[in-house]
Symmetry: C2
């Protein structure tokens, strides 16, 4: 069997997108349902702030369809924190089963893909896929607390602050999940936790070319192909890899370059984190699909499966990319 699976019965019914201050001030800010003016979101720790954003995104997503938490069959989610703390601790408030997934920044597409497969398999009718990331919680855990003011390397990306909940169902709507490709874990011997974009480009290359091969497609079959958070460096490397293999790259962008104004916002090489691909896809691309400005887009969320413990042991960084294809229902 190939790594890609075509789907017939999976639709997007609703979403809720919540973001932090820089995302709200960015070029896509007005697309998001809610933006917080600071990183605390009225809570007394950054971890609780991230959880609040996720709770808010879930509330917005459900309210839009006049649903209650108990109307959902299953919740699937992940985030960047150790023990996927944000989703697991929020799941206490949910009256239905919860499945935790972890794919680092690729968790947005991974949660959407797994949710889609369980609906397509006929096991559940309504699933909510949820992810979040928060600049202050992720930076502290993976690198240094933001408050230290450590000087950043030129290759650094900026973890996006935001949370996204998406309701998937087997009832037809305007936009569907048309196919998915689950990614292989690859490792090109990169060992610098401050240069994730470059480390992840080969994973994106692998998943995109596998997707095209499995489904006999090319960039031309999509109005837009976006990677999750390769940043300007990784984005450039991915293009070079494609060109070296004589693959024509058109309609391609990276969510990390779309979420912020790279000239005027201090985000180094661009955005990263689960919320980066999640916010761009559900806040920006999904409305474009609903308005039929795009017919079909491929979202390839990239993840650096970095363990600070293994980096301390001088191990290199495994990376992965999972893809979902979203299409207008005619």
């Amino acid at each position: 069997m190939g790594n890609s699976i075509k789907l017939e019965n999976v639709y997007i019914a609703s979403t809720g997108t919540v973001c932090g201050p820089l995302e709200y001030q960015g070029p896509l800010g007005s697309s998001f349902d809610k933006g917080f003016g600071d990183y605390h979101c009225g809570e007394d720790s950054f971890e609780k702030a991230e959880r609040k954003m996720l709770r808010d995104s879930l509330d917005i997503c459900l309210k839009r369809e006049k649903l209650k938490q108990k109307d959902i069959d299953l919740y699937i989610g992940g985030d960047l924190l150790n023990q996927i703390t944000t989703v697991n601790y929020l799941a206490r408030e949910l009256p239905k089963p919860f499945v935790g997934i972890y794919g680092a920044c690729s968790s947005f597409c991974l949660s959407m893909a797994m949710s889609s497969l369980l609906i397509e398999g006929g096991f559940v009718d309504k699933v909510i896929a949820m992810v979040s990331s928060h600049n202050a919680t992720a930076e502290r855990q993976y690198r240094y607390p933001v408050e230290y003011g450590v000087q950043k390397k030129d290759t650094t990306t900026f973890t996006a602050t935001g949370a996204i909940s998406t309701l998937l169902t087997n009832q037809p709507t305007q936009v569907r999940v048309e196919s998915i490709t689950l990614g292989k874990v690859v490792d090109y011997s990169q060992d610098d936790p401050n240069d994730m974009g470059r480390a992840m480009a080969p994973a994106a290359y692998d998943t995109i070319t596998t997707h095209f091969e499995d489904l006999k497609r090319s960039f031309q079959d999509y109005d837009l192909v976006v990677t999750g958070d390769l940043s300007t460096y990784g984005h450039k490397i991915l293009k070079e890899m494609m060109q070296r293999h004589k693959i024509d790259v058109v309609h391609y962008n990276d969510c990390g370059c779309m979420l912020y104004d790279l000239q005027n916002q201090e985000v180094f090489q661009g955005g990263s984190g689960c919320a980066c691909s999640g916010l761009v896809t559900m806040g920006h691309l999904y409305p474009m699909l609903k308005d039929k400005k795009y017919k079909r887009v491929l979202v390839v969320a990239t993840g650096a499966l970095l363990s600070p413990m293994m980096s301390a042991q001088k191990d290199t960084i495994p990376c992965v990319a999972h893809a979902i294809s979203l299409e207008v229902v005619e």
Copy 2:
């Protein structure tokens, strides 16, 4: 829809079980495929030792069926380390897609359940579910490095050292996964990371009673019901909860009490960790099913979704339990 799903086409084709020194010396030691005499397994860090055990379990599992890594459609796995380091770093060596899941010590049943659903849905033919835990890596991360010699509380459990790979297919074998129940996350306001058994008992109660209700069953419908790692305390609490609700408890045991000789091995209240339920199920119960000594067993892997960061913030501990029912194919 209920939280339980009956399956028709999911079979166990092979397994590989690898354990550490105490598990090998324990009452089930001779059931495991391989036992290491120390915690280093010939590697220079405990994290790499855990990865080696997982790699060995995978090799044994594949070899038994004369399969190569590339013959598998999908790998699904989890472990206890931050960023599920063991599975993610091993996945670099795999030529096929990998899905990371996280349910703490419930990851054994969660990976088996998700693998089963993807096979039942017809998306993949062969999936390997893999989990591991290691006493030294988990204790350092969740509590204190073992070398500190911190005095243990009476309620403490002992993280099992081991790794389990299981091949699931849609081709009939002697034993099948007959049904699964995905668990809700519950929280009974327990905040002591040294008393996980008690915290998890309500999650086990919730999943077992939901399983029985959804499928109109009772303890009598199983030759054995095992929980994952409730330990002697949690095991007793679960029984009390059942009795309070007038549920007759028969054929019930806890993997944490079965894996070790609690009288003579220094494991406090019993075993815990993903490897605890994994080793007991695949090393001990699976052969009993193959030999038709049991007809049907219910495995309820329990997980404390504890984040040390949230415990430091005085938050309580969310817990979950996922169940799989294994049955002899007549």
